[in-house]
Amino acid sequence: MAMHKISVTVNGAAREAEVESRLLLVHFIRENLRLTGTHVGCDTSHCGVCTVLLDGQPVKSCTVLAVQADGCSVATVEGLEQAGKLHAVQEAFTEKHALQCGFCTPGMLMTTSALLERNKSPSEREIREAISGNLCRCTGYLNIVKAVQHAAAKLAGGA
């Protein structure tokens, strides 16, 4: 069995592990690191519930090998909260009722937090485009879009 030693910075902390070539990043995160906020949904890179940030960019971790993340930084939903304070997108999702069952939420939060890093005040169209790889079967997306706009305003100091 082909094993590889990898070093990955996960939510700011250096982690080392010996992994099999075929281990998927999402399984590394959930099973090796026990960070179960990142979900597995369709497992075919459609639904986006496994979204994490790889060197700051949202990617579907069911379709990345753990060994491909060697030397990279990975951010998961567990890392959004800082010093006991929720991230603006987390607060906004709560305040605008942007979730029902919550299964897609970790992926939505990662995608939208990355969007707001890149674009401080995205239009509705830009938000919908950004989350087009993250499926939600509950909300109809309306409140998710509102929450992202609300989070943008919060980050700009306006709410």
Binding site: L24, D43, S45, Q57, T63, S132, G133
Partner: protein
């Protein structure tokens, strides 16, 4: 789903990658963005003993304008193409197509080289490369060679690349003045492949007649398909609505799509025709034709 076991090799240079391919031959597969390969391995539609990761090779991602051509490194990610002003200003077809490929998260990983070299007729870049008259540069143990895009695709998932060759660069000729290109695609939803899609590039002469027409179809045959009859018909003509309609009819007729969940043969042909009309009109407008 978990892939069957394989060994993973991270190539630091192209030479190293070529060496690994030469050693493992058909048991090796290149890993670039992995957006087609990893699902294939996970669904166990294919299995390889060795993956050669070329995504960390330095200088494999670039978009550079030179005198006669824009050179795009095969490792260039879709998200980079999407944000390139050079692409937007010169190749309308590429600018149209990239935002329609998969979804933004997949485009953060997927590369143009992988999309072109995979040999999947459902991928969008191959038809565009054919329509733009691009050259695909392959590197193997004996050096580099350039393959015209319209001679690259042999059969379903079979390309002109040898087992020990790597697609390293895409060379897009700088279109002459009064040129325009467009890509039109119908898909059922984000993340799906095309029901039908078509790439068109038109270059006009001083009188507004077509000097060169590049027309190619996505997902209409076992390989990406150059619409030869349509190209021939359009060349030399000033494209009025009647000529556009006939060019589009010929383009759609070139395809031999198969019926599946995306629709019947008749439906796909008709959609290809409609999209061809739209792509021709858009390319013509961008070329300043009307």
């Amino acid at each position: 789903m978990i892939p069957a076991p394989f060994d993973y090799h991270r190539a630091g240079t192209l030479e190293e990658a070529v060496g690994l391919l030469a050693r493992y031959k058909d048991d090796a597969r290149l890993l670039s963005g992995g957006m087609s390969l990893l699902p294939t391995l996970k669904l166990r539609l294919g299995s390889f003993g060795h993956l050669v990761d070329i995504s960390r090779i330095a200088g494999f991602e670039y978009i550079r304008e030179e005198k006669d051509a824009v050179r795009i490194g095969a490792g260039t990610r879709q998200c980079t193409l999407e944000r390139s002003e050079l692409v937007k200003s010169k190749y309308g077809a590429l600018a149209d197509a990239v935002p329609l490929i998969a979804d933004p998260l997949v485009r953060n990983r997927g590369t143009i080289g992988g999309n072109v070299a995979n040999g999947d007729p459902a991928n969008d870049h191959p038809a565009i490369m054919i329509a733009l008259g691009a050259e695909l540069v392959a590197r193997g143990p004996k050096g580099e060679r350039a393959i015209p895009a319209n001679r690259f695709y042999k059969e379903l998932f079979v390309t002109d690349l040898m087992a020990d060759e790597i697609l390293v660069e895409l060379r897009l000729p700088v279109p002459p003045p009064r040129s325009g290109s467009a890509y039109r695609k119908l898909k059922r939803k984000t993340g799906d492949y095309a029901v039908a899609a078509i790439a068109v590039q038109l270059s006009l002469d001083a009188k507004g007649a077509v000097e060169r027409a590049g027309i190619a179809l996505t997902n209409a045959a076992p390989t990406p398909l150059e619409a030869l009859e349509a190209q021939k018909f359009a060349t030399g003509k000033v494209l009025d609505e009647k000529a556009i309609a006939e060019t589009a009819r010929l383009a759609a007729q070139a395809g031999s799509p198969s019926a599946d969940r995306r629709g019947s043969v008749q439906y796909k042909r008709e959609m290809a025709r409609v999209l061809a009309v739209r792509a021709l009109r858009a390319a013509l407008e961008r070329a300043g034709g009307n």
